[in-house]
């Protein structure tokens, strides 16, 4: 697979995701500096990694969303190319208009690093085909601004079109409507674009791929991608 990880000033989980991609696919992704204007030829998957691009100043993801490389990322997405935004990457996707809505401060205003339970809402996407339908998985979050918000119309559309891919749930597997984690609307942890080629999620699947450091529930996401890209 040909993956490219975009590095912005202040990105800091680019190494984690590169490592996960390598562990699962055997290939190291290209690391692409934000000031570039084109993606490496033949890029299948673009990853916007976690971190604090531009210090998260102004609004998280806002300045990065306007970086030089983002035009190329938008064009790639428009062609149907895969774009995965994790945490700060999700925030950048929303700020750049590739995904609807916005991530605002956690309801309790505190940064939270914790293992979260997610329900995989659909498995017919390039990112989730290796999960079981409705599976409840353990993936850590590490964010201060993961509270997904959108207007009522957008939420209705997202739900109606089945574009909520990951949702925070309780131990019982129920939608976490007490919003204990961050207050996200409809307990949304991750959403996809209309064509399902762009995925943004707050939790960090890349931090749960190695049995030595925790559960491995993030692995199937990267395995799904590796599988898709191999066939491509």
């Amino acid at each position: 697979m040909k993956a490219a990880v975009i590095v912005f000033p202040g990105s800091n989980r680019e190494g984690d995701v590169a490592r996960a991609l390598k562990a699962v696919s055997g290939h190291s992704p290209a690391m692409v500096w934000h000031a570039e204007t084109a993606l490496p030829a033949g890029t299948d998957l673009v990853v916007l990694p976690g971190g604090f691009s531009y210090g998260d100043y102004l609004r998280c993801g806002a300045i990065a969303a306007r970086a030089g490389i983002m035009d190329a990322v938008r064009a790639h997405a428009a062609r149907g190319g895969l774009v995965l935004g994790i945490c700060n990457g999700f925030q950048i996707l929303c700020e750049s208009g590739l995904l609807p809505g916005v991530l605002v401060r956690n309801a309790r205003l505190r940064f939270i690093c914790r293992e979260a339970l997610l329900r995989v809402e659909r498995i017919d996407t390039p990112y989730t085909r290796k999960y079981a339908k409705g599976a409840v998985i353990r993936i850590p979050v590490a964010h201060g601004e993961g509270n997904y918000t959108a207007d009522a119309e957008t939420l209705r559309r997202l739900e109606g079109e089945g574009r909520v891919i990951f949702r925070y749930v309780t131990t019982a597997g129920q939608r976490d409507d007490e919003q204990v984690l961050n207050g996200a609307a409809n307990s949304i942890a991750g959403i996809a674009s209309e064509k399902l080629n762009v995925l943004g999620l707050m939790p960090h699947p890349e931090n749960h791929v190695d049995p030595l450091v925790g559960p491995t529930d993030g692995r199937p996401l990267f395995e799904s991608l590796a599988g898709v890209l191999e066939r491509a």
């Binding site: 000033p9 210090g55 505190r110």
Partner: protein
Amino acid sequence: MIPNEPKITPELVAEHGLKPDEYERILKLIGREPSFTELGIFSAMWNEHCSYKSSRLHLKGLPTKAPWVIQGPGENAGVIDIGNGLAAVFKMESHNHPSYIEPHQGAGTGVGGILRDVFTMGARPIAALNALRFGDPTHPRTRHLVAGVVSGIGGYGNSFGVPTVGGLVGFHTRYDGNCLVNAMAVGLAEADKIFYAAATGVGLPVVYLGSKTGRDGIHGATMASAEFGEGAEEKRPTVQVGDPFAEKLLLEACLEIMEAGCVVSIQDMGAAGLTCSAVEMGAKGDLGIELNLDNVPCREAGMSAYEMMLSESQERMLMVIAPGKEDEAEAIFRKWGLDFAIVGYTTDTLRFVVKHKGETVADLPIKELGDEAPLYDRPWVETPKQAPIDPASLEVNHTIPGILERLIGSPDFASKRWIWEQYDHLILNNTVQRPGGDAAVVRVNEGPKALAMTTDVTPRYCEADPFEGGKQAVAEAWRNLVAVGAKPLALTDNLNFGNPEKPEIMGQLVGCLKGIAEAAKALDFPVVSGNVSLYNETFGRAILPTPTIGGVGVLDDVSKTISLAFENAGEAILLIGETKGWLGQSAFLAEILDREDGAPPPVDLAAERRNGDFVRSLIEEGLVTAVHDVSDGGLLVAIAEMALASGIGANLLAPPAGVSPLGWWFGEDQARYVITCGNPKNGILKRAEEAGVPIQKIGATGGDRITVPGERPMPVDALRERNEAWLPIYMGAGLI
């Protein structure tokens, strides 16, 4: 002629924290009246924080050498060889006073400062830890300080991208007016690519890198060495604001230019900024330095030489660049969007010359600025010894379960999850043991090597008996590393004390240092870096003596690491080490009987070593399933923590004859570990006997309750509820 504005008066000298005799020393040294800028330079170089004038004499007694020590104290951070051509670089530093004034920024810039110390040496930070002490929870300022300090530490480390993997948090009324924020950072470098501060070569450019200079923190270092009083409020504007984003860029840029071979020497601008860093570079390299302040990138217009020399703006570095490498170095810094300016050059004059707007504003002998700093052998008195406490003399109306419930729900023992969940402890994907255990374990690169790290001290012990308390702090750090299966290698310390001009306080410092030295020697656990923070007093009341120890150890195979969680039901629980039932200065005494008295538990260093080496050998051979050291709170607290971490309960045997039940369950005898194993017949008992290690079976794992003969059972879930409840409820008003 050096311009002299404003005029030097005795008041001005005093405002600079210089005593009259210290000023006399300056006059003698330079043979004339100093300029205002020079006075500022002296005040920065000669304050306690930079000169260690009260502690230097006593720091000399610390063991600092071992075959694996690459760099001991004297540089920005200590460096140890961890094998495979790799080195661990680490140090701890305090930011107590700034954190009390503005907790969020104070703690954040503390983290920033220690990270800089580590990457200045060429190491990439891989983990951060901290040790926090707050006042009594009922003190009106405590909640605000906890909230601010925690968000500050998290805010900086999370954004910078280093996992904050461990630390400690304690509460005591003696920190009411003076909280402690000790931050530690651990980095990784190639053992033959360490960078140092000493400049070499004459006529080489001295380069300023990083963020611009503003008027922040002017006199920050002086403040850090001043006692708090009514005036503390006025010092407020000296607080610095941190920019973790700039620091992250600085890290990447520094490592890149080091890799490119551009750097001859490097020094971060920490306390007393440009002054300290430039003087250190020159003095250590036996060179003079000439600075031209016209080239310093400034954030504000019209900054004076004095202000530039004393500014403590964050995220800045000073470097000597290799000949002909200026352009390459500059290009790298520009790429990262950072300032780069040649602000001076090295000379062979051994003078520290500062020019501004065509005038020489300082011209001082560079070596004497450091070497001739005052050195005090301050008078000290030994802390009077206290008598041990006889358990039989205690009247207690609580049951054993009642005491355990109180203890694990009390501020010092309550779960600190509310705090460490605000720290990103997973980033970099190497955190093998997360917060909550005895020591954090962080994999090195792709493994199988890993580093273990911990911060420890029991101030109550140090107050009662500085010598034993100092020993205990080192022993506990060592023990915590052993408990996760690591071989302890070296330590960093952060000595937090009150006013050293008081003989009792000085006695605490001297006593603790002796204890630290003795334990570090006996355990082959040398001191490679550290920091001293004195004058931690408010209205004449000192903090408890708090020599925080940061320990680092190595595991050659991280897959062997063991956590404290009970792994299976039906396993034997064994206690290693001797239990006499020592209750003096115990948490039980303090929390249940509201008494902080008696002699603290003595530390038998030979027993520590023997028992610890034995436990480590069991872990290395995979013979045990869970390990936890027994520290304050005693045996029952330790077992409860093992149960809480897993959800598996324990059925415990009655105390052996000759030990009082209170002493058995809550005594704080040292050199002890609780271990579990599937089959005690696997030779552990026999091996212990051969090694001369006291060992006894004290129960078995299983069920969902902890049971003690003759007492009501304690459901693990109920214990957990108590343990998890206190901090979130206390912090309930979240925002404050």
